[in-house]
């Protein structure tokens, strides 16, 4: 049969954001694929060189839209390492709380995206609706719903409002209850199982070779997690075990996130319990935002975002702005190198589904 070239995206509804894939198909089987990123290049790394150290978070949170807090925290941690400052204990817990809530909201986005890509639109609407309760909490804590601009070098901006921990726990109870309904409607749905099992199987050795990180790597049986390997914020004090699976197919990747969703709910509960028992007030060291000079040197700090390892490499020449900053995002490996190879041999209908299954974030690729 004659091979045909097809452009998936950047206008295709099945593609996550501004991203395109050129696929060569034979019948409806993909024989070759080429990822075409670059539609969303905003030059974050260069722009950061023109900003003060404290002006970073309002810009950096835009690198990965559904998971903004991890970007802010990664950058803040690199600057803190460079400046040699330690965040107060309560600040660390509030930071961990925002990170886990961010993971929960990003996973809900993921469930919505993958559900939509295989035709389960009910799940897409449920997940986006449930995510709004987390955004309400963010609004109450940070003053904004999507770009929180909350985690700064030195610690989170403000302490939690009065009674906030109780409201967080209520939302966690609600999400846990909803997760059982998701199980019935989504994770045990025959359509979901048929469309995801044994699709695009990734082996552990391949994941290691291609520097796959995050839930995608753990779904292949590779137990890596920055929260365990290089603990930060309050994670050294939190009790959790790494979840891994062996199959490495689309089903395992989705279920990995479903299991980690439950784990994140447990982590949030641990954090709120601890926050209640801690004295309020001291959450942040506030340097002079306008004239803060960081000693000459370089530092790298990574966080475990909902998509994988998100690292920030920052170089200072002793001035009031970064000399150079580089971002190590998880999506460049997942969305470009891995995706191009894994989609070969799959059906045309899986082009969008695999992109969602790998949780590719195009703004993170382009930066």
């Amino acid at each position: 049969m004659k091979e045909v070239d097809l452009f998936f995206g950047p206008q295709h509804p099945g593609i996550t954001g501004n991203f395109s894939v050129r696929v060569k198909i034979d019948g409806d089987t993909v024989v070759k694929a080429q990822a075409i990123p670059g539609f969303l290049h905003r030059g974050f790394e260069k722009l950061m060189e023109m900003r003060h150290w404290m002006q970073g978070p309002p810009l950096i949170c835009r690198i990965c839209v559904p998971d903004a807090d991890h970007s802010e925290t990664g950058y803040s941690m690199a600057v803190e390492r460079l400046a040699g400052i330690e965040v107060p204990e309560r600040g660390k817990y509030i930071r961990a709380l925002t990170l886990e809530m961010s993971r929960l909201s990003a996973y809900l986005f993921y469930f919505a995206g993958y559900g939509g890509s295989i035709g389960l639109y009910t799940i897409a609407q449920w997940a986006i609706g449930d995510r709004d309760y987390l955004l309400d909490l963010y609004e109450e804590l940070t003053g904004a719903r999507v770009y929180h601009i909350f985690n700064f070098p030195g610690g989170p901006r403000w302490d939690t409002p009065e009674g906030f921990e109780d409201r967080v726990d209520k939302v966690m109870d609600y999400l846990e209850k909803r997760l059982k309904e998701y199980d019935k409607l989504y994770f045990n749905n025959m359509v979901f199982l048929k469309r995801s099992q044994d699709v695009a199987v990734m082996k552990k050795s391949y994941a290691e070779k291609m520097e796959v990180t995050g839930p995608n790597a753990r779904a292949t049986g590779w137990a890596i997690d920055v929260r365990k390997d290089d603990p930060y914020a309050a994670y050294p004090d939190l009790d959790f075990e790494l979840i891994t699976q062996d199959e490495g197919d689309s089903y395992a990747r989705v279920m990995q996130r479903r299991l980690e969703f439950q784990q994140s709910i447990d982590l949030v509960r641990q954090i709120t319990k601890k926050l209640r028992s801690m004295p309020r007030g001291n959450v942040r060291l506030i340097p002079n935002a306008l004239h803060w000079k960081i000693p000459r040197g370089e530092a790298y700090a990574a966080v475990e975002s909902s998509k994988g390892e998100l690292g920030y490499y920052v170089v200072s020449d002793g001035g009031i702005s970064p000399y150079r900053m580089q971002v190590r995002g998880p999506s460049i490996s997942h969305g470009v190198q891995v995706y191009e190879e894994m989609i070969v041999g799959q059906r045309l209908a899986d082009v969008a589904a695999l992109m969602f299954s790998l949780d590719v974030c195009p703004p993170d690729i382009d930066r």
């Binding site: 900003r51 003060h52 404290m54 002006q55 978070p57 309002p58 810009l59 009910t122 449920w126 609706g129 449930d130 709004d132 309760y133 309400d136 609004e139 109450e140 804590l141 940070t142 003053g143 904004a144 770009y147 601009i149 901006r157 403000w158 409002p161 209520k170 609600y174 309904e181 019935k184 409607l185 989504y186 045990n188 749905n189 025959m190 359509v191 979901f192 199982l193 048929k194 099992q197 979840i243 891994t244 699976q245 089903y251 279920m255 299991l259 935002a289 306008l290």
Partner: protein, 148 residues
């Protein structure tokens, strides 16, 4: 952790029981959801308290704040300048860094955030103590929004 790999043909019908539940959404403008206490909306500035130091203008990551002359506020206090901030909401990203560095606390953010106009000039204004576009009285408490 292991998971069962089995599905059910009847699982889609379970969604039907959601039909009797309240929707997530509210009917704007009949029902307006109140923003949180810390919501970062438009600015207010106490022009008497402001000393025109320009810290807000220098910290703004979007260059949205310009200091404009206000000769009537010329004071003899040291460090006081006859200038007041003018904010371009076409550029502002509502990060509140300006509020954070304000040494007198005169610059604040309020919960109102809606402005619609076909003239781009209307997005540039000098905040004073008055809140721009007071939002209507809120008619719903967030507690009622949570699904039962």
């Amino acid at each position: 952790m292991t998971i069962k790999r089995e599905g059910s043909l009847f699982s889609p019908f379970r969604a039907l029981k959601q039909l009797g539940k309240k929707p997530h959404t509210v009917q704007i403008p009949k029902v307006v959801k109140p923003p949180a206490e810390r919501y970062r909306g438009f600015h207010t500035n106490d022009l008497e308290k402001c000393i025109g130091c320009g810290n807000c203008s220098r910290i703004c990551p979007d260059n949205a704040i310009k200091m404009v002359p206000f000769p009537e506020y010329a004071k003899k206090e040291p460090g006081s300048m006859p200038l007041r901030p003018q904010i371009d909401y076409g550029r502002c990203c509502f990060c509140a860094l300006c509020v954070e560095v304000c040494p007198t606390g005169s610059l604040q953010m309020v919960k109102t955030f809606t402005h619609v106009d076909d003239k781009k000039e209307s997005f540039v204004f000098i905040p004073d103590s008055k809140v721009v576009h007071e939002t209507p009285d809120f008619v719903l408490d967030t507690k009622d929004l949570r699904r039962k």
